[in-house]
């Protein structure tokens, strides 16, 4: 029997459009607990494929009677195996093409708005991993900020907009995913900007991001204004784009704040994080729209699929911005922290150019959620 696949793009639409969906996740229990397809409209049942090799009869009663079941596994083959058995048992079933690995890599572009000086700003939402990249488009040129490893997506998108990527920027040295910034810059003969304090050990040349040194995209002068904002890393840099948007990197998220420990220096950086959030950001215009580099939970994703909120609203609602007591703040961001992202040390080394794993290894390294935030 031939079973149909559902693409990760179609799955992403179900998540964003909150379409009721039943998922049978056949990965092992630990993998499922660790990381799964999240969303208000997602109902999931986890039964490992190896418990179904003798047959699926025992779970038929737990599945929807008429509605479709989407079988998900790590890479794909196990989900096809289980989907075939379910189809034979009379269930309406599809499997997720490429499994959780493909889910982790899918990017969905969302238009955030037009820029006053001309041009557009796009957010690329990596639903499976919670990473957010940005593209500023203006008069034939484009800049990509916090690009993911899947660089084709940015090149293809630039082509549809008829623009050339001239600039890539990373807000900090990432520990949860492999940056595509350097690869894009090399392929397009563009410039790769990095905060110098995060780049002391990198083995390639880059342009140092410095406060006061604006980056201009296109003839219409879209200004990307770097603001030194340490805390998640010592070099972390935010950007104000077109006087409207504040890209906060991994410092401030919608419902959480950045963790200071991923480079092993939590105690040293907690003061910087506090200063950035409670002093530097407080001095900025409250109507700036905050655009972070991550989200952690689906509640942070808006109905239109974007992740954005005004700075003023975040000062009212984000718990991490409302801790008056400094020792309480210190405890939150250095105390009982969640586990680190998968392979975070190897990911940092890859982003510094110190190691060059093959593509398959890079995919494996990025499995799982981003885990860059504390709530």
């Amino acid at each position: 029997m031939t079973i149909k696949a559902i693409t990760v793009a179609e799955m992403a639409r179900k998540v964003v459009e909150k379409e009721e969906t039943f998922i049978l996740d056949v990965r092992n229990e630990k993998a499922f607990q660790d990381w799964k397809i999240e969303g208000d409209s997602m109902t999931a049942l986890n039964v490992p494929y190896f418990d179904l090799l003798d047959g699926v009869e025992k779970i038929l009663g737990d599945l929807p009677t008429n509605d479709e079941v989407i079988v998900v596994c790590a890479k794909e083959p196990s989900s096809i195996l289980v989907a075939e058995m379910l189809a034979e048992a009379g269930k309406k079933v599809r499997y997720l093409a490429g499994g959780m690995r493909a889910w982790s890599e899918h990017l969905e572009p969302v238009k955030l708005g037009d820029l006053k000086a001309g041009g557009e700003l796009y957010q690329f939402v990596r639903l499976g991993k919670g990473c957010l990249s940005y593209m500023v488009v203006s008069n034939g040129e484009a800049a990509v900020i916090d690009a993911t490893r899947m660089t084709d997506v940015f090149f293809d998108f630039a082509k549809t907009k008829n623009v050339k990527i001239t600039t890539t920027i990373d807000s900090h040295l990432h520990a949860d995913h492999i940056s595509g910034g350097r690869k894009i810059a090399e392929a397009s003969n563009g410039t790769y900007w990095l905060p110098p304090k995060d780049a002391e050990e990198v083995v390639f040349s880059y342009e140092p991001l410095e406060e006061g040194k604006d980056i201009v995209i296109g003839h219409t002068k879209i200004v990307i204004e770097p603001i030194y904002s340490p805390g998640h890393t010592i070099g972390s840099t935010s950007f104000i784009i077109d006087d409207q948007y504040l890209l906060t990197g991994d410092i401030l998220f919608i419902d959480s704040i950045g963790r200071p420990d991923l480079a092993g220096l939590a105690e040293d950086w907690v003061g910087d994080l506090r200063d950035t959030l409670y002093d530097r950001y407080k001095k900025l215009a409250k109507d700036l729209i905050v655009l972070p580099a991550h989200f952690m939970i689906m509640e942070e994703v808006n109905d239109d699929g974007s992740v954005q909120e005004t700075l003023g609203k975040l000062f009212e609602e984000n718990h991490g911005l409302k801790i008056e007591d400094e020792s309480e703040f210190r405890e939150l961001v250095t105390g009982d922290l969640p586990p680190q992202p998968n392979a975070y040390q190897e990911i940092r080394q890859t982003n510094m150019g110190m190691i060059t794993p093959d593509e398959e290894t890079q995919r494996e390294m990025e499995i799982g959620p981003n885990r860059c935030a504390v709530r």
């Binding site: 092992n28 490992p48 494929y49 190896f50 418990d51 790590a74 890479k75």
Partner: protein, 75 residues
């Protein structure tokens, strides 16, 4: 350790390593040990979970040059 049976599942992707290990497990007696070789990183957590689910005992495991070896005692 006395190894009763060896399964070579190198180069195979999920679910085949577990499917083969399971088949071999059916051919040995309780208390006997199965040795399994794989190259798919996903088998590291799957072998542990499968052993637990089947009541077997994952006695030891190692990784060497990209090959994972598991010793599982039948329960």
């Amino acid at each position: 350790m006395n190894i009763t049976k060896i399964v070579d599942a190198k180069g195979l992707a999920c679910p085949m390593p577990v499917v083969q290990a399971r088949k071999a497990m059916n051919e040995i007696e309780t208390g006997e040990v199965l040795e399994i070789h794989t190259t798919d990183r996903g088998t590291v957590s799957d072998m542990a979970a499968w052993s637990k689910s089947g009541g077997h005992d994952l006695v030891e495991q190692k990784e060497e040059d990209g090959v994972f070896t598991f010793w599982i005692k039948k329960g």
